[in-house]
Amino acid sequence: MVKKGYAMHEITIPISEETILSLHVGEPVELSGVMITGRDAVHKWLSETFIKRTREPRGDDLHVYEALKKYLDQGVLYHCGPVVSGIDTKQYKFVAAGPTTSTREEPYQADVMKHFNIRGVIGKGGMGPKTLKGCTETPGVDFHAIGGAASFLAQTVQRVVGVYKLEEFGVPEAMWVIEVKKFPVVVTMDAHGESQHKAIDDESRKVLDDLLQMP
């Protein structure tokens, strides 16, 4: 749904409030700077330990939390479980790194965005009404990367800056801090309450209803 004629936005992380408010659904963006990966285990852990506080911090939790605050303030969180080489030698290199399905983070995302002042989450498949509201309140946006384009997207990763919770969460669920250059995404949920996913869902539902009436 990128409408023809949209100019590419080139945005550097950290992202200002003004920049994020200038973005609208359908616009292509290239992101550069340092971002961090986080998916299912991370969202559950953050929510339980630091937001809802139903679980006591343990191990290196507080240390990791302090580091995360620095990266996530006006930062970007990438829903991604990469393939990384050099696990044995710690000479980490991103081999394949496309987005994972974002909707699994719907129960947590808005709270996590607001807690850390996150300007953008990157994933695929879009998110629901709770996150959309979170986008307007933070403010932030949902960026969509091309699902499955893992080798292609890994090439935008210039270097792995570091990793948190690798042993505890495993390679796909760990928090990888990466520096990217011109990481391509499309805005599919903006800070003005618009969601491309809702629009397509509604339109396709109407077509389905018609198809279901046919013999």
């Binding site: 393939v83 394949a96 498949g125 499955g148 796909p172």
Partner: protein, 291 residues
């Protein structure tokens, strides 16, 4: 019997990094259906660039290297126990070489084993014995979690969809599954549909049917017609690549039938993402062939 661990490793490398040509051709053909400058077209162009890059560099097409599903047709006299050991050894090495992401997570203790081995069921291996003079054939499918999550199983009749226990009912529930999936299964997808069986066998069959080439139609003209119709109607919903909107939502539909209990009428829909990774290894004596 000979040790074929290295050949299985090569099968895994090819499956993870080199998309089958018939799938790539379908994706390439669909580009022209999408408007120039549209996000749908941009998505397909990126997908094709990624396919070429992965093949050239032996890197995974998708970082989710999926559930490894093996079908091993072994000549009478081969040891399934040894074949299983060789598959598992190849899987560990493939993970070490980054052809595979460590993907086996203990569901109760939340621990990733780190080497793609988990209990007796990860990787999944199906064995089928063939005559002693036949070659050993190993088929491998890697099915990502995003598309697996949008698979669906319906028990007919389904009142909400007014779907009865017949092919008209099957059509309705399959279209419903596509609409519910939106772009989350990494559209454009391929549908594997199984009608009948019990809940378990039906889902397994809905994946087995996807080992056939793109465009392979069911032998029954009535079912073949339904396959074509479902692909066409799914594409009318406008979901498009990645759910960006567009004309390419489903690349192909494959349907198979099973026997069912009088009381049950299951329709299982397995959704395969565009990264439709399936490859074959054939071993005849010393001769080794990959598709």
């Amino acid at each position: 019997m000979r040790d074929i661990t290295n050949e299985i490793l090569e099968l895994i490398r090819r499956t993870s990094s080199s998309l089958p040509k018939d799938v790539e051709e379908r994706l390439r053909a669909s580009i022209e259906k999408e408007a120039p400058g549209s996000a749908a077209r941009g998505a397909l162009e990126t997908i094709l660039k990624n396919i070429e890059l992965s093949r050239a560099n032996s890197t995974p097409i998708c970082q989710d290297t999926g559930t490894p599903i093996f079908y091993i047709h072994y000549p009478e006299g081969w040891s399934t126990r040894r074949l299983r050991e060789q598959v598992r050894a190849a899987m560990v090495e493939a993970t070490r070489r980054s052809y595979m992401r460590p993907n086996a997570v203990d569901a109760i203790y939340d621990k990733n084993t780190g080497n793609n081995l988990g209990g007796d069921d990860f990787p999944t291996i199906h064995f089928e014995e063939v005559d002693a003079d036949q070659p050993l054939v190993i088929e491998l499918m890697l099915k990502g979690g995003g598309c697996e999550n949008v698979g669906a199983q319906y028990s007919l009749p389904n009142n909400n969809l007014a779907a009865g226990r017949d092919l008209a009912g099957v059509r309705k529930v399959v279209l419903d599954a596509v609409q519910k999936a939106q772009g989350q299964g990494c559209a454009p997808g391929i549908l594997g549909v199984s009608i009948g069986g019990d809940r378990g066998s039906s889902y397994i069959k809905s994946k087995e049917v996807m080992f056939s080439k793109m465009g392979t139609r069911n032998e029954d003209p009535k079912i073949a017609e339904l396959e074509e119709r479902l692909t066409k109607e799914a594409n009318e919903m406008g979901i498009g690549p990645m759910g960006f909107g567009g004309k390419t939502t489903v690349l192909d539909t494959k349907i198979t039938g099973m026997h069912r209990l009088p009381a049950s009428y299951f329709v299982s829909v397995s959704y395969m993402c565009w990264a439709y990774r399936r490859r074959k290894l054939v071993v005849r004596g010393e001769e080794v062939e990959y598709d």
